[in-house]
C-alpha cells in the first residue's frame, strides 16, 4: 500500500516541482550558462526532457522487450521532418500537419516492424539500421525539394500557435517538453504493467517459452515496436517545436539511435527512472562538455589533452565503455547493488551452466 502511494506520489511531486522551474531566476554559475529562467537554460532543460522521453521509448523496446533496434532515429526523424514539411512546403495548417504525422507515425513502424521482426537478435539490429538509413538518405537527397538536403530548412513559424513562438515563450516550450516526458512515462508504465506488457517482458526473458505457451511473439513484439516508434515520432514533433529551428539531417543519423542506447544503458535498461535519468544526464553533459571544450581553462592545455576534450562524443563514448565495465545495470541499479546484485550473479551463474533452450531460471523477486 505504502509502495503504491510512493509510486504515484513521487512522479506527481517531481512533475509539479519541475513545472515551477521556469519561475526560478537563480543563477547557478558552474551548472548553467545563465539564470535558470533564461531562454537558453530553459531550452537546454527542454531538450533534456525530450530526450528523457525518447530514452524511455527506446527502453520500452530494448529494456522491456529485449529488442535491440538500431533504427529508432528513423521514427524520431519522421516526427521532426514531417510536420515541418507539411507546414512549410505543403502549406498545411498546424493541426492537420500533426494529424498526418500521427497517421504516418503509426503506419510506418507497422509495415517496417512487420518485415524486420521476421529476424531476431543481431540480424534484427542490422535490418532496422538499414531501414533507418533510407530515412537518412532521403533527408540528404532532398526529394522534390522537401527536406532541404544537407542544410535542412527553416520551419514556417507563422503556422504555429502564437504561444509556442518567440524567445519570451520559451517556458511554454519547456512545459511542452515536460508534458511529453511525463506522458511517455505514464504510457510506458501503463503499457508494461498491462497484460501484453507482461508478455513483452516474458519475450525478453525467454521467447521460446512464450511460444510454447501458445502465444505468438511476433504480434506482441510488433505491438511494442509500433507503440515505442509512435511515441518517438511524437517526441520528434516536440523536439521540432522546442528546437526553434527547422529540421536538419543530423536527426536521421544512426548516432541518434546509438545515443539513445547509451542513455538507456547509462541509466539502467529495463527501469523507467533509469532511462529518464540517463536521457537527462546525457543531453546535459553533451551540451555542457561542449562548453567546457571552448572554455579558456581547456584552451590553455597542451594540444594532446585539449583535442580529445573538445569532442563531447569522445568523452561520452569513453564514459560509456567504462560504465559497461564497472557499473553494469546503470545508475538506477546503484541502489539495488548488494543483496540483489548477488542474487542476479547467482542466477547468471546457474543460467550459464544449464542449456538455454527452455531452461531459463525463474526470475527471483
Amino acid at each position: 500500500m505504502i509502495r503504491r502511494f510512493w509510486n504515484v506520489a513521487l512522479p506527481v511531486a517531481l512533475v509539479v516541482a519541475l513545472a515551477f522551474v521556469p519561475q526560478i531566476s537563480v543563477d547557478i554559475p558552474k551548472l548553467f550558462n545563465g539564470p535558470i529562467d533564461s531562454p537558453g537554460t530553459l531550452q537546454l532543460l527542454a531538450t533534456c526532457l525530450v530526450f528523457a522521453g525518447l530514452a524511455l521509448t527506446y527502453d520500452l523496446l530494448f529494456g522491456y522487450t529485449g529488442l535491440l533496434s538500431f533504427g529508432h532515429a528513423l521514427y524520431f526523424a519522421v516526427g521532426v521532418y514531417l510536420p515541418a514539411i507539411a507546414m512549410t512546403k505543403w502549406g498545411w495548417g498546424f493541426w492537420e500537419s500533426l494529424a498526418i504525422t500521427a497517421a504516418f507515425g503509426l503506419a510506418l513502424p507497422f509495415v517496417l516492424g512487420a518485415v524486420s521482426l521476421r529476424v531476431t537478435g543481431i540480424a534484427f539490429a542490422m535490418v532496422t539500421l538499414a531501414f533507418a538509413q533510407v530515412g537518412a538518405v532521403l533527408a540528404i537527397k532532398n526529394p522534390h525539394g522537401w527536406t532541404g538536403g544537407e542544410e535542412g530548412f527553416g520551419t514556417d513559424f507563422e503556422k504555429l500557435p502564437a504561444a509556442l513562438v518567440g524567445v519570451f515563450n520559451t517556458k511554454h516550450l519547456y512545459w511542452l517538453a515536460l508534458g511529453y516526458a511525463a506522458a511517455v512515462f505514464l504510457i510506458v508504465r501503463w503499457a508494461v504493467e498491462s497484460s501484453p506488457g507482461r508478455v513483452w517482458q516474458a519475450i525478453r526473458e525467454n521467447e521460446l517459452r512464450v511460444e510454447v505457451l501458445g502465444l505468438r511473439p511476433h504480434s506482441f513484439k510488433l505491438m511494442a515496436f509500433v507503440l515505442s516508434s509512435f511515441l518517438a515520432t511524437a517526441g520528434g514533433a516536440v523536439y521540432l517545436l522546442t528546437s526553434l529551428t527547422g529540421p536538419s539531417p543530423s536527426v536521421t543519423s544512426p548516432n541518434i539511435t546509438l545515443t539513445l542506447l547509451i542513455m538507456v544503458v547509462l541509466g539502467g535498461a529495463g527501469t523507467r527512472w533509469g532511462a529518464v535519468i540517463g536521457g537527462v544526464l546525457y543531453k546535459y553533459f553533451e551540451n555542457r562538455l561542449g562548453a567546457i571544450g571552448d572554455s579558456p581553462t581547456v584552451h590553455d592545455l597542451p594540444g594532446i589533452l585539449r583535442t580529445p576534450l573538445s569532442e563531447p562524443l569522445f568523452l561520452l563514448g569513453t564514459l560509456f565503455i567504462l560504465l559497461v565495465f564497472f557499473l553494469p545495470g546503470g545508475v538506477a541499479r546503484l541502489s539495488l547493488r548488494g543483496r540483489r546484485a548477488g542474487l542476479r550473479r547467482f542466477e547468471q551463474a546457474l543460467a550459464s551452466q544449464t542449456t538455454p533452450v527452455g531452461g531459463g531460471i525463474e526470475k527471483a523477486t
Partner: protein
Amino acid sequence: MSTFVLLTITGFGLAAMYFLIASGLSLIYGLMGVLNFAHGLFLTVGAYSTWWFGTHLTGLGNVTVRYLVSALIGLCVGALFATLVELLLIRPLYRRHIEQVLVTVGLGLAGTALVQAIWGQDSRPFVTPKWMNETTTVLGAHVPNDRWVEIGAAAAVLVGLETFLRRTRYGLIVRAGVENRAMVTALGIDVRRAFTLVFAIGGVAAALAGALSNVYFGSVTPERGTSLLIFAFIVVVIGGLGSITGSALAALLVGVTQQYANYYGATSLHLGSSIGDITVILLLGLILLVRPQGLSGRLA
C-alpha cells in the same frame, strides 16, 4: 554496352570493399557472437594510417611505392589495433554478448570522434598513384585502373581466407568454433586464441578496405567507416552470418545492384543519385521476406 561494362566493373570495385569489411564482421559474429560496431573504426584506422604515412614518408621514391608502403603500414596498424581491442575490451566480457556490442558501439563513437577532433571533420585529399587514375579500355568502356586493384585485393583476400580456413589447423579450429564453440572448448582447445586471431584478421581486412577506399573516393573522411559499415551489415545479413563465400556473393549483388540502380534510376527514371542505396535496402527487405536466413542458409 560500354556503360554497362563500366557500371559492372565499378560495382565490383565497390563490392570488393564491402566484402573486405563484411568478411571480418561475419567471421567475428560467426565465431564469437559479437556484432562489431567498431569495425567501421578499424577501416578508419587503416585509411588514416595509410594517408598519414603517405603524406609523411616523402623521401620514398615515387607515389606508387609510397602508397604500397603506407598501405602495408596501415594494415599492420589495423591488425594491431583490432588485436588490442579484442584483448582489452572484448575479452573481459566473454559470454556477455549485449555488453560486448555496447562496448564496440562506445568505441566506434569515441574513436570516430577522436579522429574528427585530431584531423577535422572535412575530407582531406588523398594522393593517388597516377596510373590508378588512368583508364583501361575494356569492351569499349574506359575503366579507371584502381578498380582492378580493389577487385584483385578482395579476390586475394577471399582465396587467402578460404585457404586458411580449409587447409590450416587454425582455420579448422575457427570453422569448428563457428559450428559449435562449446564442443571445441570441451575438446581442450583454447578457442580464445582463435578469437584474437579472428579479430586481427578482421582488422587487417577492414584496414585494407580503408586503404583502398582512399583511392576509390580520392579522399579520407572520418565518416566513411560508418557509412560503409552500414552496407557491410546489409551484405552480412544477405549473405548469411558466419559465411565467407556468402558474404562475397552478397557483396557482389549489393555493389552491382547499387551501381545499376544509381545509373539507370537517375538517367531513365529521374530518381536522383541515391536511388542505389534505397534499392539495396529494399533488396534486403525482400530477401528477408523470402529467405530470412540469408543466401547461404545459415540461420541468423
